[in-house]
């Protein structure tokens, strides 16, 4: 542990603990850790003011490697514990780290309520479509037919889409990124951090041991440009190496269509300009299905509202202001009291 007593600006190294990192060699988690240690100094985060709260899973080991405050809690409950942290001290910068099992299986309910309440948390869901820590069972994001230790004949459950779920929960910030993309991920983390309220970030994370290459169809270097669309607020939804592909509204419908500029008379003007405050658009973007459509990454939805803990404390302050100095002796003597002599 290092000793942050000076006020000098911390560096990425200051955010690394002395604990040996114990993920499998080649695990996508390393890149996410690196990215986090990199961006925290850039956003002027103070180690003492930063808290990582996690559940249980490979991903949830994250806090041990961050030289900040950290709480490795119990399976699925990190959003609830983090809510308590924010209620006690709204000033803290709280990051929640969770996995697809931790956050969407056992912890689905807490995720739902942290999102709908809009607690000011930065929630990072490391989605590897598998239970890593317990040695490879399928998860709620695993595709139908996934063969795992618990589904030797293939899974039959319809998977959930994390972002679609977050939208349904009334989330005010939804973004997606990829573990290996050290250019894109930092921008998403910074936006998530800047958003006041619950920021939900899905990170496609490769589990090299139990589910290797499950996202390769859009994360492989060779195909990424054609398969990923990086949504940027105010800019047209374009993708492809030549940025000549894009999304437009299929005329007369409420559906999106993947088109090529210059083909069939399509021009740049036909392409929708990304509006991250448009919930319907967000819903269309997260619902696009591969391989007919690109995988949309970046900040898909961001529409700030006041945060839960701020409202709670506002109410307390207004009651305090109204009632004057609270006196417990006086309070318990309200109503009928009598003297015995």
């Amino acid at each position: 542990m290092n000793n942050v007593q000076t006020v000098s600006k911390p560096t990425p190294k200051d955010f690394a603990t002395d604990q040996e990192v114990r993920w499998c060699p080649g695990c996508g988690d390393y890149a996410i850790l690196k990215c986090m240690q990199r961006i925290l100094p850039e956003i002027d985060a103070r180690p003492e003011n930063t808290v990582f709260v996690s559940g249980i899973g490979c991903a949830s080991r994250f806090p041990y490697y961050m030289e900040t405050y950290g709480f490795h809690t119990i399976h699925g409950r990190a959003p609830a514990i983090a809510t308590g942290v924010k209620l006690a001290n709204p000033e803290l910068d709280v990051w929640v780290v969770t996995g697809d099992g931790d956050g969407l299986s056992i912890g689905g309910n807490h995720l739902l309520h942290a999102l709908r309440r809009n607690v000011d948390l930065n929630i990072l869901l490391f989605n590897n479509e598998i239970y890593g820590l317990t040695k490879g069972q399928y998860s709620p994001t695993s595709r139908i037919g996934t063969k795992t230790a618990s589904t030797p004949y293939g899974s039959v459950d319809r998977p959930i889409d994390a972002c679609q779920f977050a939208l349904g929960c009334g989330s005010t910030f939804i973004a997606r990124t990829v573990d290996t993309d050290q250019k894109h991920m930092p921008t998403v983390f910074k936006r998530a951090h800047a958003h006041k309220g619950a920021s939900f970030v899905e990170i496609f994370q490769n589990c090299i041991v139990y589910n290797d290459a499950v996202f390769a169809d859009f994360t492989d270097k060779a195909v990424a440009a054609e398969a990923q669309l990086h949504a940027i607020h105010g800019e047209p939804l374009l993708y492809g190496k030549e940025k000549n592909k894009g999304l437009r509204i299929k005329p007369g419908t409420v559906q999106l269509e993947a088109v090529i500029i210059g083909k069939d008379g399509v021009t740049l003007d036909d392409i929708i300009v990304h509006d991250e405050t448009d919930k319907t658009l967000a819903s269309l973007l997260v619902n696009l299905e591969r391989p007919d459509f690109p995988m949309v990454l970046g900040v898909i939805y961001a529409n700030p509202e006041s945060t839960f803990e701020a409202e709670i404390h506002k109410q307390i302050e207004s009651v305090k202001a109204e009632s004057g100095k609270a006196d417990l002796n006086a309070f318990i003597r309200q109503g009928r009291i009598w003297e015995v002599t």
Binding site: Q5, E48, V51, K86, A88, H313, I316, L328, R333, E339
Partner: protein
């Protein structure tokens, strides 16, 4: 069961016999709880000691007139010490046939029953499943009775108020209250004050209620009633001098938590999920925002306890509360709190179990769960208040232990304590002992690492460093931790050491709690009656009565259940036998047999109802007279 002759017997005896048990009963729509609590207020202001117990229907609002829709409120008051709501009512006010049907069986033989004859019409008799009219078929022969058409008299009394018939009839309860105030010589003034305040904005209702109250009172004074009944006179009790109020266990508990927050200087964060009978604490605390109390109605009990743990982690006083099934759901997280050694108060309001059980009934069957209901070797201090007012002090005690020892603490209350009320000598908060809290702020010396599991050599409490403190950044979690560094450790010997230190820490609290004393009776004798929690009242009275009969019995009441007071074994050694009344199948008995290796005589009642004094008294007699004679 106590026979009426026995009761007569007692009436001629010692100080605690100058008491009277009155039970108000009617439809849930009849305003019975209000009537009862206002009667209690007026009685308390007259200086009587008292204890009350509301008996709600399980339904929110059951169909009018049915037996399962009957609501009742019982009050025991007297000039002596009163610690239970009374075994058998001496007076029953029944505002409809269903109320009579349900409550007559518990009225003592020869008791007084007051009925509203206006409701004894066919439709209501049928709803109450009466085959014939009990007022006419001799059913009430064993009792003294006053039959009044309260409905009609109320309508008459309020006819000038301009209220419609339905609203006018709603004043029945005030009419009956007026009559009862007259019967016991209680003042109407407190009720007037209350009505003024409550209905300040609806004058018509206020006036109608006042009119009804006066009419009922006048009825007692002036009508034919005075010929037969001159009214009861119960003098003021000899309570210790001071300022009093009536308080329910829920109120005292909520206030005690806020007091704990005040005394420790830590803001209270209360995470809870509604459940009977724990919800009132949430409701009460949510009305105390001026004290900086954060109340959080979580999505479930797991989130509730987790939010409290998160709050404690962030340096506040995290408290959670629930009842049986909800406490079960918190088990895993309580284990986390004890593993990371964070302060946490868990209030467990016991109710009838198992499973959903009998939510509105009282029971003491969650002691096992509190002591043992977690995975792993997971000791947690457990304490239990014994009366409504004691909830205040035990809440403070829970906060004290949690903060001093960095541990979750379980406070076991129950449905009886939650709802029962008693006069309470108001404490002066300023004179209560402060609860010192150390949150470390100094970083370790340069080059040395901070170990959050560094321990106080005496209490064995770990060091508390709160997020936001520079230089003390650290990580905690539910995996086993190194004793020396606080980092994750899979080391064999370390796990043994940590297991031992967790155990020693909780066991050591025994040095920090009062030695056990007897409540009544000598330090030795033929029999000790040992109780915990809300059985205090009936045991207290039963022992006093038995001692008045010359029996060598003492009352020992445990407020600390884990660890037990150090001297308990020694104290028990002074008694030939130990009788343990419990509202469960013998859970404390298990604990005492295990910890002290002593045989005890269990007295178990699992009916959802508190013990009657007579049931315990009978058991005492049985041990000391019948068995001795054998």
């Amino acid at each position: 069961m106590e026979s009426s002759s026995l009761k007569q017997d007692q009436r001629s005896q010692a100080s605690d016999l100058e008491s009277m048990v009155v039970r108000f009963a009617g439809d849930s729509g009849d305003g019975i709880q209000l009537t009862g609590s206002q009667f209690a207020v007026s009685t308390a202001l007259s200086g009587s000691d008292l204890a009350t117990f509301p008996d709600f229907p399980a339904e929110i609002r059951a169909p009018a007139g049915t037996t399962f829709g009957v609501s009742a409120f019982q009050i025991n008051f007297g000039s002596g010490v009163v610690k239970t709501a009374g075994d058998e009512p001496d007076v029953l006010v029944a505002l409809n046939p269903a109320a009579l049907k349900v409550n007559l069986p518990i009225l003592r033989e020869g008791g007084l029953v007051i009925v509203d004859t206006g409701t004894f019409v066919d439709r209501n008799l049928k709803k109450a499943k009466y085959e014939s009219n009990p007022l006419k078929d001799g059913s009430l022969d064993a009792y003294r009775k006053i039959e009044i058409d309260i409905s009609r008299l109320t309508l008459e009394a309020v006819k000038d108020s301009g209220l419609g018939k339905k609203d006018a009839l709603r004043c029945k309860n005030l009419w009956s209250l007026g009559l009862m105030l007259w019967l016991f010589g209680r003042k109407r003034k407190p009720i007037f004050d209350w009505l003024e305040q409550k209905f300040a904005k609806v004058e018509s209702i206020r006036d109608a209620n006042i009119a009804a109250l006066n009419a009922g009172h006048a009825y007692g004074e002036t009508t034919e009633l005075s010929a037969n009944f001159t009214g009861f006179r119960i003098g003021p009790s000899e309570l210790a001098p001071g300022t009093y109020r009536t308080v329910t266990g829920s109120q005292a508990l909520a206030w005690g938590l806020v007091a704990g927050s005040h005394l420790s200087g830590l803001p209270l964060v209360y995470g809870s999920y509604p459940i009977t009978p724990a919800s009132p604490i949430l409701h009460l605390l949510s009305q105390m925002k001026q004290f900086g109390v954060v109340t959080f109605q979580a999505e479930d009990e797991i989130a509730a306890v987790c939010s409290a743990i998160g709050a404690s982690y962030a340096g506040s006083l995290g408290v959670t509360s629930s009842s049986g099934p909800g406490i079960a759901l918190k088990a895993e997280a309580i284990g986390l709190a004890l593993s990371v050694e964070l302060p946490l108060v868990v209030v467990s309001s016991q109710r009838g179990g198992p499973s959903t059980g009998l939510p509105t009934k009282t029971e003491q069957s969650d002691l096992y769960q509190a002591l043992y209901g977690r995975n792993g070797d997971a000791p947690v201090p457990v304490i239990a208040p014994r009366s409504p007012g004691d909830c205040f002090f035990m809440a403070i005690e829970a906060v004290r232990i949690a903060l001093k020892y960095m541990t979750p603490v379980i406070l076991l209350t129950d449905g009886y304590l939650a709802n029962a009320a008693e006069p309470w000598l108001l404490p002066d908060i300023d004179t209560l002992d402060p609860i010192p809290v150390t949150q470390r702020t100094t970083p370790p010396e340069q080059g040395r690492a901070f170990n959050p599991f560094e321990r106080d050599p005496v209490t064995l409490a770990r060091t508390w460093a709160v997020p936001g403190t520079p230089g003390l950044e650290h990580r905690i979690g539910g995996l086993e931790k190194s004793y020396d560094t606080g980092h994750i450790s899979y080391d064999h010997e370390n796990h043994q050491k940590m297991t031992d230190v967790r155990q020693a820490k909780v066991a050591g609290i025994a040095d920090d709690i009062p030695e056990q004393t007897t409540e009544g009776g000598e330090q030795s004798g033929a029999l000790a009656v040992v109780g915990w929690g809300s059985t205090y009242g009936p045991i207290y009275h039963a022992v006093i009565r038995a001692r008045a009969e010359g029996l060598a019995v003492s009352h020992i009441h445990l407020r600390h259940l884990n660890p037990l007071p150090r001297n308990l074994g020694n104290l028990f050694d002074g008694f030939d036998r130990i009788l343990v009344p419990e509202m469960n199948t013998g859970q404390l008995v298990t604990v005492l047999r295990d910890r002290l290796l002593i045989d005890t005589i269990p007295l178990n009642k699992v009916s959802g109802q508190p013990f009657k004094i007579s049931e315990i008294l009978d058991a005492i007699r049985d041990e000391l007279l019948a068995k001795a004679a054998e």
